[in-house]
Symmetry: C2
Subunit: 411 residues, 2 copies
């Protein structure tokens, strides 16, 4: 068989190495700014010689739904992962989405590996490996747990042995560079032919385009992209979401605590608010994002909660469960009573007491989750064929089209 | 009587001079960037000592609807002005909105002047004077026609004589500075106590925040703001809309010609697309904006046109007439069959042949009209009283609240 098929789309098996990099939180502005200043020669080369578009990520513009969309070529309605964190309506339990229980259907990585293509996935945070590595017959590990991951099947005691240095700190740019270095080793040693490499957005949460720490990070990524290309790989770069500053003219974070607003009106326990950005590493963002889910105790209060929230400062839009599922291509059965999406310069939380605001006081708050962080780069190191260009010019491009563009529309 | 009343809100009569400046196209980023670099001492002073928020403009984020909203304190649903340019459904005629025929209700400027407060309005482009000057008993003129406007009632042959220099070129930063200079003269000479000064967005269409031409312009505005404050005026600065770059990573404008898309499917004359940004001065933007209105010849095709447009690259949202009226607070009777709103990095046109693209080739295209240009600065030179702060903290702030904030909530 010369193809795999998933969610209604066929993908040709690759004849040369393919490296898809998800530059977590890489707002298009980082790329535009780097191109404008000539900072990143290899990214510039991709734009000049390959394909360079701006695509949408899936909503909510968070890490898990988008990583899963990229490796399945489909929106959350198909694969079922609509957040990093969710409320089980039946048990009332809040659940961190850190394994594949919630995943519906296969991933491209699993199908490619099962079709005999040596495939690997490396991520910065470990939470993603179980999700995107589901069914993957090949190396799948994180920088976070590189020291504890055996690669004995491939001749290395651990992933740390493969990379040749100890795993970096969780809150460092190197957590991402380590992912790329691991990918380079897997490629150089012939262990893998298809690589999915998913970075961390620690730097983007803290630094705007053009800030020295951001420049340094981009330069290091760019150098490694050059190495992948030099090794003969077709490289695709997308992001799981963009990033916006969430501060007023004083530099103060603009925050709306949605559960507090609802509690003031409906009383204690009248509403539960889930922040689907939540993950164990809160120094990035304090679990504050641009999208929250609202569950009302009394279904009769949904409409008045909607009206109340729509009038609050910082709210861009409040959607019903049905509207959210239909407009944002989300799984209806896992959707909340209401979805709240913030303005580009505001962030949303649940109850103020549940957020560690000290964790995000070091730098002006930057975060994501809404429409204002939906635009992401879509770069491929080789040009698309004519059919691919026709397709890209006539459809709404998504980050999850990157495997389609590379496998079906490059040589 | 110590107040005037309009669209359900009471406004106290001012006891000191009030100057409201609409800095056309002033995206909050211009202010943030200027504050960050310490470029504009008087704007910084307003942020430090007065009130500084980020507000929404009304949709569509175009000049006419927003200027009228600012001087009426209400959304287009109330005052009826929903674009610069519209299609008369009954006659099929395309009409430039350049007089008050379409305006519903009075303006605050008219009411204040009728209540005995010496009031004036000065604009950059003449198209606005008839609209916002409707019923205004006081000076109302534009830079554009300063040489032809008699101010004989106030002791000056023309507005040019008042300002003391000839009116500037239509495509120059000075067109806006001339508005401010005229306002300064009106204030200094005791001719007016309330001033509405509406600038041009020529500079913002051409230059991003931080570019030298933008810095020069902001500095000149800032200096004049300082003069108004020194003359004892309470100064409010808002914008009619923000501004976004509409280019891809190659620097090429990302354009969707909505009428061409519809003609391909529904045939010649099957659809008419109105670009409500259209005005006689197209070198700013080539009549390309982030919001267009669609009229179908056959009402039975509305739903299929909607589906078709929603799938096209660059489209953020397609709204029905009812949805547009309800969600965007627009007058239903003047709304089109469909409203199309673009992504932040795309612009919309009607038919390619109707747009002079050469007019916008000199610089990377920047324009407005959509949600991505809805955020605007809201600065007042004096602090709001406690009641005003409470109000601003619990409501969705709009640019059209600026007279309310100043007249009702500053000393």
């Amino acid at each position: 068989m010369s193809f795999v098929e998933l969610h209604g789309r066929r993908y040709r098996l690759p004849t040369r190495p393919v490296v898809v990099i998800c530059i977590d939180g890489c707002d298009p502005e980082y790329i535009s700014d780097a191109l404008h200043r000539g900072l990143c020669p290899n990214l510039s080369g991709m734009v000049r010689q390959g394909f360079a578009g701006i695509a949408d990520c899936v909503m909510p513009s968070f890490t898990n739904p988008n990583n899963v969309s990229i490796v399945t070529g489909a929106p959350p309605r198909e694969h079922g992962i609509a957040g990093n964190y969710y409320l089980d309506r039946e048990t009332g339990e809040e659940i961190m989405v850190n394994d594949a229980r919630m995943l519906r259907g296969a991933t491209l990585l699993a199908l490619l590996s099962q079709a005999g293509i040596p495939t690997a996935a490396v991520t910065a945070k470990d939470k993603l490996t179980k999700l995107i590595g589901n069914g993957l017959a090949g190396p799948c590990f994180s920088s976070e747990r590189a020291g504890q991951t055996s690669l004995a099947d491939y001749g290395f005691a651990t992933a740390e042995t493969l990379v040749g240095r100890p795993r970096p700190d969780m809150y460092s740019p190197d957590l991402s560079l380590y992912v790329l270095d691991a990918g380079l080793e897997l490629l150089k040693r012939g262990i893998s032919q298809v690589l999915y490499l998913s970075l961390s957005d620690f730097v983007q949460h803290k630094y705007a385009p053009g800030e020295p720490a951001s420049d340094d990070f981009l330069l290091e990524i760019d150098r490694r992209i050059g190495e992948f290309i030099a090794l003969g790989a077709t490289v695709g770069c997308v992001a799981d979401h963009g990033m916006s500053r969430k501060t007023d003219f004083h530099g103060t974070a603009q925050l709306l605590f949605v559960e507090d607003v609802l509690t003031d009106t409906f009383g204690d326990g009248g509403a539960r608010v889930i922040c689907p950005i939540t993950d164990p590493f809160v120094r990035h963002h304090g679990a504050l994002g641009s999208f929250v889910r609202v569950y009302l105790r009394d279904a009769g209060q949904i409409e008045s909660a909607r009206t109340l929230l729509a009038s609050r400062p910082g709210v861009h839009e409040v959607l019903s469960r049905r509207e959210a599922a239909d407009r944002l291509e989300l799984p209806y059965d896992r959707e909340a009573d209401l979805v709240v999406i913030s303005k580009e310069d505001w962030a949303l939380g649940a109850a103020r007491k549940d957020h560690d605001l000290d964790a995000v006081r070091d730098r002006p708050l930057r975060t994501h989750g809404g429409y204002s962080e939906q635009r992401v780069p879509f770069l491929v190191s080789r040009p698309l064929d004519d059919e691919g260009l026709e397709w890209a010019g006539s459809h709404r491009l998504h980050n999850y089209d990157v495997f389609h563009a590379i496998l079906n529309h490059t040589d």
